[in-house]
């Protein structure tokens, strides 16, 4: 199996911050907004270098979304920054009407997604944001897997015309994709070719999927691992090509199984190539306080859970 090396654990939100720093230097139309969470979003350097292109809106996310929509009128490319919970559920109607329905070129950048923000607990741990955002017509939904990919995605979405939801997180996770990679929106990445099962993962569960694949190889199971960083538009061709070879699939994401990546893939498979599928995702539940590792273990989102799901789905072939 192809080997991937962790270049040193890092948080994906810092990848966002690094991407913003680069955009600040290369694209004069990029502006940043933040709702009292500069430190959490790691955009200090962008602000320092581009004070005129930063807007601190305070604890007022609805207003932030509206201001972002307005800034596009005049050619600016606004990047909003707050936690995923406050980037989506709290401001759904503002995004729906003023951004999505109004076809505004706003980049909604959301940190602290999922359970792994940890100790703050369920009030801050949104597990429904992918569903909320992918349901909006015209919205692109991206969930990169590590620091390097988040940086690349941040830079890439500035070139994409239209609203984007970019999801990343708080914990330090393995950083294993290439430095300065070219990020192609909507293009699934084949990480390991296999023949017995397809594992499609998004976000930091991609790394967990690679560990699971290695463990499975030792048990004689050949797993294909695909990184789906773009949940919408979904790379349907890559998924279909893979399952036609392997005959079964496991999807893995730090999100509710309702509304997430797994459901998007299930729709494709149900209509185009019915295939046994198992879901590694949370089971219609809120989270709770704990360390990221404890939460991943308790809610069944780690490499062990993926491994077990693979063994289960293979039996259903």
């Amino acid at each position: 199996m192809k080997k991937y090396v962790d270049q040193g654990k890092n948080d994906t939100r810092s990848g966002y911050g690094a991407g913003m720093t680069e955009l600040g230097r290369t694209n004069p139309n990029v502006v940043a907004l933040c709702a009292d969470l500069i430190g959490s979003l790691k955009i200090n350097q962008f602000i320092e270098e581009n004070p005129d292109r930063f807007f601190q809106v305070g604890i007022a996310e609805a207003n932030m979304m509206g201001i972002a929509a307005g800034l596009t009128i005049g050619g600016k490319i606004p990047f909003t920054g707050t936690f995923a919970n406050f980037s989506t559920g709290r401001v759904y109607d503002q995004i729906r009407q003023s951004i999505a329905y109004s076809d505004k070129n706003v980049k909604i950048c959301a940190s602290h997604a999922g359970l792994t923000l940890g100790e703050d607990g369920a009030t801050h741990q949104i597990l429904e944001d992918i569903g909320l955002m992918k349901m909006l017509p015209g919205m692109t939904v991206i969930n990169p897997c590590d620091y390097n990919q988040t940086k690349a995605a941040t830079i890439a979405i500035a070139e994409h015309e239209g609203p984007v939801y970019l999801r990343f997180g708080r914990p330090k996770v393995a950083n294993f994709t290439p430095v300065d990679q070219k990020f192609e929106i909507g293009k699934a990445l084949m990480l390991n070719e296999g023949t017995d099962v397809t594992i499609v993962a998004t976000g930091h569960l991609v790394w967990e999927a690679l560990i699971a694949a290695e463990n499975l190889e030792n048990q004689g199971v050949s797993a294909e691992v695909i990184n789906i960083h773009t949940i919408k538009p979904l790379d349907e061709a890559a998924v279909l090509k893979s399952v036609k070879k392997t005959g079964c699939i496991v999807t893995a994401e730090e999100h509710n199984h309702l509304g997430g990546l797994g459901e998007s893939i299930a729709r494709v498979l149900a209509t185009k190539h019915p295939t046994p599928q198992e879901f590694v995702a949370t089971n219609d539940t809120f989270g709770e306080s704990g360390t990221p590792a404890q939460l991943m273990e308790k809610y069944g989102l780690n490499n062990k859970a993926i491994e077990q799901a693979v063994l289960n789905v293979i039996k259903r072939k």
Partner: protein, 281 residues
């Protein structure tokens, strides 16, 4: 600049357009539309500096945002008669496959519209964003917005009002249509909002009153004064006192015509009270 007679002709023709549009599809919001006719006609023909044609970015011209999107009939009529799209298209209001949706949208590509509105309380934030973009672009033109008074019950407005003053967004003139009515009754009955002047002032805005919001002369003079107050460190709020349903006697001074269309007889009476001036669509 148009003459007073030309503005009056536009107002009367716009009133006809409004009641004919809502009558045809038996839906829409004539009350607030009629109340804001003088304001929007003044804005688009006398107050705002506008380029020919339409582009979304609107650099080098004044911008207007309608936050209370349900008064789309007056907005559409004024846009059409200002030349943004053919006047005949007003006949498609609220019909299937029309660019004139029930509430305004950019989604169908109607020239003159820069944001969707209808879900209330969002327009001031958008107007602030557009005003900030003008400052970044070193564009000295102004941003105008219109809001219903009942709409101020939405909390997002107060986030925006706080932001605009705190950040000296002084190229913005936000007008509140103070007609005192909302769907369920008078604003005082539904949710009293207290002293709006004092509230805006407490948030740090420059506040002006236009007492005769249905007098062309008063509106033009008031908005010119509002313009003169821009660029001085404070956003401008205009409290525009209007009469809902103005110009059609049986629709006036009541919330009953907020979102109700006239029947054939009522339409005939309304048209009789507003003789054709520029030609019906």
């Amino acid at each position: 600049m148009p003459t007073t007679q030309q503005l009056e002709d536009l107002v009367r023709q716009t009133r006809r357009d409004i009641i004919r549009m809502v009558h045809k599809v038996n839906s829409g919001h004539p009350g607030g539309s009629l109340g804001c006719t003088e304001f929007l006609v003044s804005l688009y023909h006398e107050i705002m500096e506008l380029k020919d044609g339409f582009d979304m970015d609107g650099v080098g011209e004044d911008l207007f945002f309608l936050s209370n999107g349900h008064i789309s009939p007056v907005f559409y009529s004024v846009l059409a008669r200002r030349g943004y799209f053919p006047v005949e298209e007003l006949s498609t209001f609220r019909l299937i496959n029309s660019r004139l949706q029930g509430h305004p949208t950019t989604h169908e590509g109607l020239p003159g519209v820069r944001i969707a509105s209808g879900s209330l309380g969002q327009g001031m934030s958008v107007a602030i964003g557009a005003a900030l973009a003008k400052k970044l672009n070193k564009d000295t033109h102004l941003v105008y917005s219109l809001h219903g008074d009942g709409e101020l019950q939405e909390g997002q407005n107060w986030e925006a009002i706080m932001y605009a003053a705190g950040n000296k967004v002084d190229n913005l003139i936000a007008t509140i249509d103070l007609n005192g009515q909302q769907i369920d009754g008078s604003t005082d009955d539904v949710l009293p909002m207290g002293d709006l002047r004092a509230k805006f002032e407490a948030f740090g805005w420059e506040v002006m009153d236009i007492e005769e919001g249905n007098s062309l002369e008063a509106v033009v003079a008031g908005m010119k004064e509002a313009k003169s107050k821009t660029g001085k460190g404070k956003p401008i709020c205009v409290l525009l006192r209007t009469i809902m349903g103005n110009g059609v006697d049986f629709m006036m001074h009541t919330h009953a015509w907020h979102g109700k269309a006239p029947n054939d007889e009522q339409l005939a009476i309304g048209l009789e009270q507003n003789a054709e001036t520029l030609g019906d669509y």
